[in-house]
Symmetry: C2
Subunit: 236 residues, 2 copies
DNA sequence: CGGTTGTTTGAACTGATTCAATCTGTGTGG
DNA sequence: CCACACAGATTGAATCAGTTCAAACAACCG
């Protein structure tokens, strides 16, 4: 019953719009989109940026989803953060400890740190904007720690689904689930086998209905409860 | 065989020094320590700051250790971050999703956001300094996610011990372990019962030796391997 | 069609939890 | 100085959630 991701990325919304939607004042978005940059198409689950390399570049997701990941010496992979359209990965002076891969085929705008940093420094409002975004990602990271540390496997998957629905701005209705079960396992610290069983469970309990990759929430209140999903942390 | 934390906090090192030790230029530390503030003694494992409350204050740890925590609706607690001496918790515009408690008796310097923000905005170098600190805490958070998501219980505890030794600047020798087993459980997403068994295991394997709370690393290389501890992420 | 990637299912196993009891060290007050 | 209370550490037994290994199945692609 597996369905495939669409082969083309979602229509490339202009970056400026997505940034403004994320809360940046329109006149501030302008110098950012005017910054010299290239746009790259990134294939899912292929090496894109390896860990341990210095990265003096900014990237913003225009469409698709990027993930930051780390790999244990034993080879087990853990995804530690996601970036949805309009979100970005800021420059990193020293060596980075994480790698980057796309979850689905994505369009990414890449600029150089030496172009980006002066722009931010020149606009205190933009500093505050990025400050707020960092804080939001921090809050999400904390929530993920609670997820991995304290919830059982059903709660973890349910929570990820709720969060994803919220971050993709689909309400409590249908979610076009972008993840493979392996990726969900890598995010929630489990095995893909178990993720599969959890999905079957959720469906058997009548909380969701699946048509291929698409997920329909049949009982939003109850799945929120199972996930103990309190969306407050997502509002910067 | 339990020993108690010393009843007095570690001698209150001047904040300026600890900030400089953390990499801040001495002339930049000055306006920070000159900022109007109060110094508070915080008792361990007592309510200090509750989640869900706006917090327009900065705090810097002068001695002891602070923890940020979240609590699941089911009442299970997860510690999501630690702050050692010289480290701080920056102001938070909206409602905070986490609470704050001390791990051991701590001295904390508390200032107001409205005093702190202008100082930072006036000094680009200080912005870069805090930027780097944020990045470091982000990296630690990612490593914690790997810890909770991908390591077994021995690896988790061993990793926390290694990280703590590094952050407290004790080399590979003796660590005056500041945590109760319950706190270690709350950090690593386990039960205190299991943490206890892990400690017994580590000792039986000859990796550590315990005298009350004090831990002596008998085989640093091997415990690093067990923990898959790569300290690179700690260097901002 | 054959190759690849992702999903699904079963059976055996194991690491960690739960519950409950006991033990140890520390501090307090009589 | 002893009795007592308290917090934390330790141990055992039963249980269970999640892993591991292995195999089959489905969908898509060239």
């Amino acid at each position: 019953m597996a369905s495939r991701r669409s082969k083309a990325p979602a229509p490339g919304v202009p970056l400026g719009e997505t940034l403004v939607a994320a809360g940046l004042a329109p006149e501030l978005a302008e110098p950012l989109v005017a910054m010299p940059h290239k746009v790259v198409e990134v294939d899912p689950r292929r090496p894109f940026r390896e860990p341990g390399v210095p990265r003096d570049e900014v990237m913003f997701v225009r469409s698709g989803i990027l993930s930051k990941f780390k790999t244990d010496p034993a080879g087990r992979r853990q995804i530690v953060a996601l970036r949805f359209p309009g979100e970005g990965i800021l420059p990193h002076a020293g060596r980075t400890d994480y790698g980057i891969q796309a979850i689905v085929r994505s369009e990414v705008m890449i600029g150089r740190a030496e172009d980006f940093d002066p722009i931010v420094e020149a606009h205190p409002d933009m500093q505050r904007f990025f400050w707020r975004l960092i804080r939001r990602h921090e809050a999400i990271g904390y929530e993920w720690l609670v997820n991995c540390g304290r919830r059982d496997s059903i709660g973890r998957v349910a929570h990820l689904l709720c969060e994803t629905a919220a971050r993709m701005h689909v309400g409590s209705g249908r979610l076009n689930n972008p993840f493979t079960q392996q990726q969900i396992a890598d995010i929630t610290g489990q095995t893909s086998v178990n993720v599969n069983r959890v999905f079957a469970d959720l469906e058997r309990q009548g909380l969701i209905k699946r048509h291929g990759r698409e997920i329909q929430f049949k009982d939003w209140a109850e799945i929120r409860r199972v996930a103990s999903f309190q969306p407050g942390y997502l509002e910067a």
